[in-house]
Symmetry: C2
Subunit: 285 residues, 2 copies
């Protein structure tokens, strides 16, 4: 049996009791290590589980999944995923290959940012489509997520923005020379994302857009390390968030749509500055 | 410290290790027992935790939260919620009251249907607003969720429909006479929800609507007891789902929007009938 086990968001102890039982009895334990990051490190997992954990990088999962499936017909194999196993497309792919090979599978769910984001007080069922915000380069500055957020806001819905993660990326030089030398991992911060948004807002203004879906004083919510002991939530204008350092990864950003009074009451407790928060919320209404 | 602890979706062992530690050391352990249901029963929880669990019904949480908060300033109090603590509005309310009373709180997240629904193969970030489908009565047949689903589908997004739960409801007679006698709990099934949808589709047709957002042969996904060992997923036309018995609660229904090839590949494995599935998917494209 192939078990896809969600690890949740924080540390080793965020695994479920059921998940832990699987890990402890499995023949092999793989850890997916490229669509998200662990905040606690592989060593801490190994110590807590009392098991060796094999890092499965993108190459392994996409090209060498045979290694993962090798014993899965007769034995229990655990494939660990930070958050929930169905947060990222790649794991559907893995399940499909398991089905093709006639390998039974089971999912042990856990929290992911997709539902834990509710802790900021915005109601989960009022979220629209989720968007991804990627790192810009000098000559590639995609901003199509702006239109998606605009479409959500038009309907009154909140938008969760997943911020880019660059793990095991190669420089163009190393890629061309076929050298497996990887750049240090990079995780987009709320500050960086807010700066990108401001640049887009500025560009739209220069292009003559009148009423915009997002303005400099639109209330947004920065989330950092949700589910860990050091989690931070900051509600403020886009400009304020572009000036706010929320510490280490992972970060996410929410652009609220229409907010109900209870949502505003909760969010106010995370305001960077309550006075400007109330002003901005009032303007939006 | 007030701990809001998510229990996940299945049985007692779906609590996280961190959550279990809190439950075992807390002075009091409350279980929220009205926005969702436990599939395993309170006794099974008590046995597994080795702790007495106090059922907190709606009256207690909304009107007598003092009982929950009584010792929370000095001691650890655990408030257990099926799924994740931020699935339902009521728990924001509880947190706000804790903040007002200067009681620190912490959330221990877990899976909820809001993210576990990804196990059917439809990508979480392509879901739009979530809707609630309530039981109809003879003279109250709300169908506003239809327009919300239509709005989602127009954008190409999937819709998760949360199906009604009636727990501790009083009949009008008992309510008027002030008798605390409660009706047996009722949980809407996929079959019942699909029947409602068909009735709305029929009504819209009679009113002369031409192209509709949902038709009898629209592919939908029924989900039952997600996260448990007996979970079932069934993909089929609305008509097929209205004829399908998916067993005991809890059920949810998904109306897909635009599906990517990988999503279709996954969903096909859950098709009630692959041939009609392929036909309907093809028509939609």
């Amino acid at each position: 049996m192939l078990y896809l086990v969600g690890l949740g968001l924080g540390d080793a102890k965020d695994i479920t009791v059921k998940g832990l039982e699987v890990v402890r009895r499995a023949k092999w334990v793989f850890l997916e290590a490229y669509t998200s990051i662990l905040t606690c490190g592989k060593d801490a997992l190994e110590e807590f589980y009392g098991r060796e954990v094999i890092l499965a990088d993108r190459d392994m999962v996409e090209q060498e999944s045979d290694a993962i499936f090798k014993d899965a017909k007769e034995e229990d194999i655990a494939f660990l995923v930070v958050g929930d196993p169905f947060g990222a497309t790649t794991h559907s792919d893995l399940v499909l290959r398991a089905i093709e090979l006639d390998i039974p599978y089971k999912v042990i769910h856990n929290a992911s940012i997709m539902n834990a984001v509710g802790c900021c007080g915005l109601q989960l069922y009022n979220f629209g489509e989720t968007v991804s915000v990627v790192f810009w380069t000098d000559d590639w500055k995609p901003d199509s997520y702006y239109d998606k957020i605009a479409a959500n806001r038009e309907k009154g819905w909140h938008t969760l923005c997943l911020l880019d993660i660059k793990v095991k990326e190669q420089s163009i030089e190393n890629l061309m020379k076929g050298r497996k030398i990887y750049e240090p991992p990079r995780y987009m911060t709320v500050k960086q994302a807010a700066e990108q948004f401001l640049e887009i807002v500025q560009k739209k203004k220069e292009q003559g857009a009148e009423k915009q879906a997002i303005e400099e004083d639109t209330i947004c919510v920065g989330l950092a390390r949700i589910g860990t002991d050091t989690q931070q939530i900051a509600a403020g204008t886009l400009t304020q968030l572009a000036e706010t350092d929320m510490g280490g990864p992972l970060h996410s950003l929410v652009i609220p749509g229409h907010m109900h009074p209870l949502e505003i009451d909760m969010l106010r407790h995370f305001a960077i500055d309550r006075e400007s928060f109330d002003t901005s919320v009032h303007v939006e209404e």
